[in-house]
């Protein structure tokens, strides 16, 4: 006897979580299974919709305007502009700590290397750092943290032409953390606001941090830190620092492990839980049964194969990074259902000689019909009841376009909603 649900979503990243949420809100009985930690911990936590066209035009002010001009195989073209908007509304509703929904215009956010990038939604913690905001800015780096060198970031930001003055200063983080402490250690110390010794006196960590920054502040109206300001209580930490410093405080998104990415993952899991979906993490889907329709999938758990059956399935296992698409010396494949992944026969055609060249591998993934159902080599549906969402989809280069989160949310939304409607 299999574990049954109406909609089974495979994958716990942005695409899978949005699929499951959309399906659950549509009233379906939803189950989400995911294996490893999602790639959200490696992502900045920003929600990009479309920053550049495939030809490299941009940064785009209005991402929605450009969508109809994208190539026909692009996932946005399969779902259409209105679905992208509807999907973002679902996201805005599910994750109220994000901003950017007051305008269709993209925002420009500073990156931890000092460049700026266009994005559509950003965590509240990053909102005071927008590059179009003209307030002068102080960036504060931590001496022990090699991922964010504030003077270097400030100089690089200045070179991008930002409309404000920006300066970087480096401090010792209070509390004697090890030189190679993980970002979560910094976050934890601020979350708990534990007392730390400052010149022989015990001071709560948030206050101690502000004390280190205060003397460095000149006439800047905002202060940016690397994204380490708490895991559980980021809002409270920012408020406390703002109070102590008398200016707005923001975080600059960082590379992995990314606290904003982890916070976003937590927020979406919470929303999904609230919507009543079943969630199972930590176990892989290893096999399935079915010919034209998927009858059941098998989840490996402590060596046992647990059958799970559903009416409709959503494949949201990610791309090369999330291992939803894999490769060997002979070719590229999708490992769960062995869906067809179009790719060049010669692996030396998968990439270009330049680091940021027009790499084919960046667009590899399953091809689908307009209903997001994966297609085989003859353009027939692989399975009647399987849809795909997120980075497992081919036909777009999310890194070059800055469209990763937007495609995951839009296709996740469409796949989840349609799966639920069909299951009912």
């Amino acid at each position: 006897m299999a574990i049954e649900s109406e909609v089974l979503v495979i994958g716990g990243g942005l695409g899978g979580l949005t699929s499951a949420l959309a399906a659950a809100r549509e009233g379906a009985d939803v189950r989400l299974v995911s294996y490893k930690q999602s790639t959200l911990r490696q992502a900045s936590g920003l929600v990009d919709v479309l920053g550049y066209t495939p030809d490299g035009d941009g940064p785009l002010t209005d991402p929605y305007e450009a969508i109809p001009t994208l190539p026909a195989e692009h996932p946005y073209r399969k779902v259409g502009v209105q679905t992208v908007r509807d999907a973002l509304s679902l996201f805005d509703d599910a994750v109220p700590t994000y901003e950017g929904d007051h305008t269709d215009a993209n925002a420009l956010l500073p990156t931890h290397g000092g460049s700026i990038k266009p994005t559509a939604r950003y965590p509240a913690g990053a909102s005071a750092g927008l590059a179009s905001d003209t307030r002068d800015t102080l960036l504060v780096g931590i001496e022990e943290m090699v991922d964010f060198d504030a003077p270097h970031v400030a100089a690089h930001l200045d070179a991008t032409g930002v409309p404000f003055d920006v300066r970087g200063e480096t401090i010792r983080f209070p509390g004697d953390l090890r030189a190679d402490a993980k970002v979560t250690r910094y976050a934890k110390l601020l979350d708990t606001n534990s007392e730390v010794a400052v010149r022989g006196r015990m001071v709560p960590a948030r206050e101690a941090l502000a004390q280190r920054v205060n003397p460095l502040l000149e006439d800047e109206q905002r202060v940016g830190f690397p994204a380490i300001l708490g895991d559980d209580n980021p809002g409270a930490i920012r408020d406390a620092l703002s109070d102590h410093l008398g200016v707005d405080v923001f975080e600059v998104p960082m590379g992995p492990p990314s606290l904003p990415g982890l916070r976003l993952e937590d927020a979406l899991f919470a929303a999904l839980d609230e919507a009543g979906a079943s969630i199972e993490t930590g176990n892989p889907v290893v096999d399935f049964e079915g010919e034209d329709r998927i009858e059941k999938v098998f989840i490996e758990k402590n060596g046992a194969r647990i059958p799970n059956s559903a009416d409709q399935y959503v494949l949201a296992t990610g791309g090369f990074v999330g291992k939803g698409v894999e490769s060997d010396r002979e070719g590229v494949y999708e490992p769960v259902f062995d869906c067809h992944v179009p790719h060049a026969a010669d692996r030396y055609d998968w990439f270009e000689g330049e680091l940021f060249g027009d790499h084919e591998f960046a667009r590899y993934g399953v091809a689908t019909d307009d209903d997001l159902r994966p297609l085989d080599a003859s353009d027939d549906r692989e399975f009647e009841n399987l849809r795909a969402a997120g980075s497992v989809l081919g036909g777009y280069d999310f890194a070059a376009e800055k469209s990763g989160s937007g495609v995951s949310i839009a296709t996740g939304y469409a796949a989840g909603q349609r799966a639920a409607q069909e299951a009912r």
Partner: protein
């Protein structure tokens, strides 16, 4: 004796650096010029085998004897560059017993300690060897870091007064009255340490004697004075695995052939190689079949290689030379011996000698003979001391004690730093500020990066070869921006950005040959981190000006978008 002769040495590989050190230690005035980084040509593109001589024990016993002698010398003077892994010549059932016996007796004849071990014993040493390996000969092969070795030789030369110029390409030989009197160089970014974005210039360096130690490029230099130096460049591929499948050098015991060696190297293992003549040492095809052959053929010795992760491949060119009257068709037939071409004797052009052919393991011996030759020209009677005086970093290798507590470094990072730095560990790691890890794959800390920057300017590839930072699994995906930031205290932002781009591109170059499986996943992640998270592919600092006012400047902030966009027309579901 008159004034000190000034010798210009062209070529910053092992040979050139070895010659420069030797001459400088004998009191001569030396300038070494190198067109790229130290090790740029052949030395930086090899598998880093410290030969026991076993490889040549049948085909070329003179070379084999030299190898074992120099093997012993380098263990003494360059202990911080050497890992004595030991080596095995393994015999598969289809390989000839006769050759195995020849190899064994050849080793004995050349004074190479060699011992036969059974298949079981070999597998006890190296559990991943194929089950059907018959037996093996154990020899004292080792691994040596060619980058560290050359840098140490150059540093020693510098300590003895030599001038070292990298990124300085020789554009002409100065010939006056039928004699070579110097060189003309084009400095990529001005003389001294390389700084990106600095305008270079041409410099004439007059010298009493010129030594052409440019290996596969020797013919190019010769052309500048109308000399005919017939170097036959031969390419070989090397494929780097992400872990050490073996801890011993594994050679296949058969006469000659492609893909017959695996050298464990730091955290990696290097598979090699091929031997194929090419026209141009800088421009030759790098092909998929060569990589595939490394994996497929060496899997016969170590089956797990077939499924293992490779992180990149690179090609090197051997500077093979054969005297004009021999005429071999096959590059594998050409001797690995070296030749000293005195252009006065050979071509009636005094003032220059070229050195061609030779092997990395015997670089010091070559240096000694060239230095003897040069000193002879000037009637200088000075002893060679390079076999006795340790290189900087290897003066007192007893310092390889546990530095972890002393420098607050966790294992294995502390241990690895000290292994790399040898006796320089104290000097480099003893810093005032915190010393966090910059490159996690290779365990390289800020102090080591800063020390390398001090030695090499803004060139992050030079920092890389001095420290190994960005040479591990992630191939710079996680650390290249951190390395760039370490430049910032001393260099301006545009200089840093250019150095950063150059490192990223260099790391990509070799990785392209490993783009399947895990490494393709890694490449996709690196691409996402640089392009998505950092927007480095469309960095506005490198591009057109951005109209900031057209973008979102935040809810409630005065600024372009609030005026131009329809504020919260969708109802502003978030609230604030």
């Amino acid at each position: 004796m008159g004034p000190t002769p000034h010798i210009a040495v062209i070529g910053g590989g092992s040979t050139g650096a070895g010659i420069a050190r030797d001459l400088a230690m004998r009191g001569l005035d030396v300038t070494l010029v190198e067109q790229g980084n130290l090790t740029h040509g052949t030395t930086g593109r090899m598998h880093g085998l410290l030969h026991s001589g076993g490889r040549y024990a049948v085909s070329d016993q003179a070379s084999a004897t030299e190898c074992i002698e120099e093997n012993r010398v380098l263990r003494d003077i360059a202990s911080h560059c050497v890992e004595m892994t030991g080596g095995l010549f393994v015999k598969r059932p289809e390989d000839s017993e006769e050759y195995f016996q020849k190899k064994l007796s050849g080793c004995e004849e050349c004074g190479i300690p060699a011992e036969v071990v059974s298949g079981e014993e070999a597998r006890a040493m190296e559990p991943h060897l194929a089950k059907d390996i018959d037996k093996a000969i154990s020899v004292p092969d080792g691994a040596i870091d060619p980058f560290r070795l050359v840098v140490a030789n150059a540093a020693s030369a510098q300590e003895h007064g030599a001038r070292i110029e990298t990124h300085s390409k020789v554009t002409d030989l100065l010939v006056e009255s039928g004699e070579v009197v110097g060189i003309e160089v084009e400095h990529d970014s001005g003389p001294g340490k390389r700084v990106h974005g600095t305008e270079g210039g041409t410099e004439q360096i007059r010298a009493d004697y010129v030594v052409n130690a440019t290996g596969a490029w020797a013919g190019r230099i010769g052309d500048m004075a109308g000399l005919d130096i017939e170097v036959r460049p031969s390419k070989g591929v090397m494929t780097i695995m992400n872990i050490r499948q073996v801890d011993t050098v594994i050679n296949r015991c058969r006469p000659k052939g492609d893909a017959d060696i695996v050298v464990p190297h730091e955290t990696t293992a290097i598979l090699g190689t091929t031997d194929e003549e090419v026209e141009d040492p800088e421009d030759y095809p790098e092909e998929q079949w060569e990589v595939d052959m490394m994996i497929d053929t060496l899997s016969e010795l170590i089956p797990m290689l077939d499924e293992a992760r490779t992180i990149r491949s690179f090609w090197g060119v051997r500077p093979l030379y054969e005297p004009p009257d021999v005429g071999s068709d096959d590059p594998t037939d050409i001797t690995r011996d070296f030749f000293l071409l005195d252009h006065d004797e050979r071509d009636d052009l005094p003032g220059m000698t070229s050195i061609v052919g030779g092997k990395f393991t015997t670089y010091r011996m070559m240096g000694e003979q060239i230095a003897d030759h040069v000193c002879g020209k000037f009637g200088i009677d000075a002893d060679c001391r390079t076999a006795d005086v340790p290189l900087p970093g290897s003066e007192d290798f007893s310092v390889l004690r546990d530095y972890m507590d002393e420098f607050g470094l966790r294992s294995p990072i502390g241990r690895r730093s000290v292994e790399r730095l040898g006796s320089r560990a104290d000097e480099v790691l003893n810093t005032d500020g915190p010393n966090p890890t910059v490159c996690e794959c290779e365990g390289v800390t800020r102090a080591e990066i800063q020390d390398a920057i001090e030695g090499s300017g803004s060139d992050l590839n030079a920092v890389r070869i001095r420290t190994r930072a960005s040479m591990g699994n992630c191939q710079g995906g996680f650390c290249s921006h951190r390395m760039a930031s370490e430049l910032h205290s001393e260099y301006d932002e545009p200089v840093v950005r250019e150095a950063w781009d150059e490192l990223l591109q260099e790391r990509w170059k070799g990785q392209r040959h490993a783009l399947w499986g895990e490494q393709l996943s890694q490449a996709a992640l690196n691409y996402a981190l640089h392009a998505t998270t950092q927007n480095r592919d469309q960095d506005p600092a490198d591009g057109d000006p951005v109209d900031f006012s057209a973008f979102d400047s935040g809810r409630g902030q005065t600024g372009g978008s609030v005026d131009s966009a329809d504020v919260a027309a969708d109802g502003g579901t978030n609230g604030y």
